[in-house]
């Protein structure tokens, strides 16, 4: 229909086949000597196997069992986390925010997809998508409910919008009934979502 010519100018060409588009891009850049496909393999392998939420869970569990480490996290999260070997890209400037009985913390990046890669790995799709980014700052209780997390009405909610280069790690509260557990066991209770603020730490089985 000819009426599509002028009022559909917002549609730029949909990439119907991202696989082909990205392959073409990689081919062109490789032919030009600008990229090394083996470097891409190494990057992917790093984020598939080495850098993920287990890093953050280690940090959290250690903070639960070592008050000095918890203190260090509060005063210099970047250094405390680096002491465990978790450094680098999207973790250069870390801040740890601690849930309390009064206040629950929730992290979002309304403007893009800022996320603490060094401790949580690559962000999930929902964290980068419009629904979460638009609603977490204005209606966090409804958002948390969609994750199955219904907080007491008296619980304050503090939303951290990552607008600068600081990356936030939520330190959930240590669950009850975990008194006898050591750090590796405790780390099993700490999910990725608990460190974003869309979940609490799990309870021991």
């Amino acid at each position: 229909m000819h009426d599509h010519d002028h009022h559909d100018h917002h549609h730029d060409n949909r990439y119907t086949d991202m696989q082909a588009r990205v392959r073409a891009l990689e081919t062109v850049l490789t032919q030009k000597g600008l990229i090394d496909p083996a470097a891409i393999d190494a990057i992917v392998e790093t984020y598939e196997t080495k850098i993920g939420p287990r890093n953050g869970a280690h940090v959290v569990a250690k903070s639960w069992v070592e008050p000095e480490f918890s203190e260090w996290l509060q005063t210099d999260a970047t250094a405390a986390i680096a002491s465990l070997g978790y450094t680098g890209r999207q973790g250069e400037h870390m801040r740890a925010v601690f849930n309390t009985p009064e206040t629950h913390n929730l992290v979002v990046c309304t403007l893009c997809s800022c996320y603490p890669w060094a401790v949580l790995g690559l962000p999930p799709v929902w964290y980068k998508a419009p629904a979460y980014r638009s609603r977490a700052v204005i209606d966090p209780r409804a958002v948390l409910a969609e994750f199955g997390l219904v907080l007491p009405e008296t619980r304050k909610i503090r939303v951290w919008d990552s607008t600068a280069e600081l990356r936030y790690l939520v330190i959930p509260q240590r669950p009850e009934g975990t008194e006898g557990m050591d750090a590796p066991e405790l780390a099993q209770l700490v999910s990725r979502d608990a460190m974003i603020g869309t979940a609490l730490a799990g309870r021991p089985a």
Partner: protein, 219 residues
């Protein structure tokens, strides 16, 4: 810019829809998109701020319907063309046609571990002392530039409190446009939900942003 990326407080965008046991990647091309974006960032031709602005400039309908890796790829194509590394015509054709610009660095496989572990810190020292200290009341400025900014629309012309001085960092509003790093102090500013969203806001809500000093005025 008041682009499609500035999503805080927008409505009508559906439920969050978290995916159970989400895989790291949903297709092979997403893996390559990650690696390409990081590899090309190593050229040293553009900053993270310029790349964010390239993403913000994707037309809203595309931006809001694309997956984030698609947003990355579209912005990467813009950056590669702008800086003379590859044209869209070449990518359409799928093979090299032009001599590229010379990058400062090319990322080889044996450099990856070191590069990822080093990251790209953007804290920079400044001579001046911070203008504000924790507890100060501040008001965010009102502005609506066509250019890059990290002050979201919902947090403009709002009054809050300085909670922390977070250090001094590259100023993205300049750096995205090749105007230099011009570092400034960055503060965590916390607002009552009612100040941001008005009378019907969740009374238990506070929202904070990290704000560069020039975004703020003392109340």
């Amino acid at each position: 810019m008041n682009g499609p990326h500035d999503l805080g407080g927008q409505m009508g965008l559906g439920p969050v829809a978290p995916e159970k046991d989400e895989p790291y990647f949903h297709a092979e091309w997403e893996k390559r998109a990650l690696g390409l974006t990081l590899s090309c960032g190593i050229f040293g031709a553009w900053t993270i701020d310029e790349s964010r602005h390239a993403r913000e400039n994707i037309p809203p309908v595309t931006y809001l319907s694309a997956s984030y890796y698609e947003i990355w790829i579209r912005a990467l194509e813009t950056l590669l063309e702008r800086h003379g590394f590859a044209s869209r015509a070449e990518i359409d054709a799928g093979h090299r046609q032009l001599e590229p610009a010379i990058p400062k660095r090319v990322l080889k496989a044996d450099m990856v571990a070191d590069v990822l572990a080093r990251g790209g810190p953007c804290d920079r020292s400044v001579d001046a002392e911070p203008l504000f200290e924790p507890g100060d009341r501040v008001r965010t400025k009102n502005f609506n530039p066509q250019t890059h900014t990290r002050l979201p629309r919902y947090a403009r012309a709002k009054t809050g409190a300085i909670e922390a001085v977070q250090g001094s960092f590259v100023f993205p509003d300049d750096n995205a446009h090749g105007k230099g790093e011009n570092p400034q102090w960055v503060y965590t500013v916390v607002f009552d939900g009612a100040e941001i969203w008005g009378e019907d806001a969740d009374p238990s809500l506070t929202v904070s942003i990290d704000a560069w000093e020039s975004y703020l005025e003392r109340v």
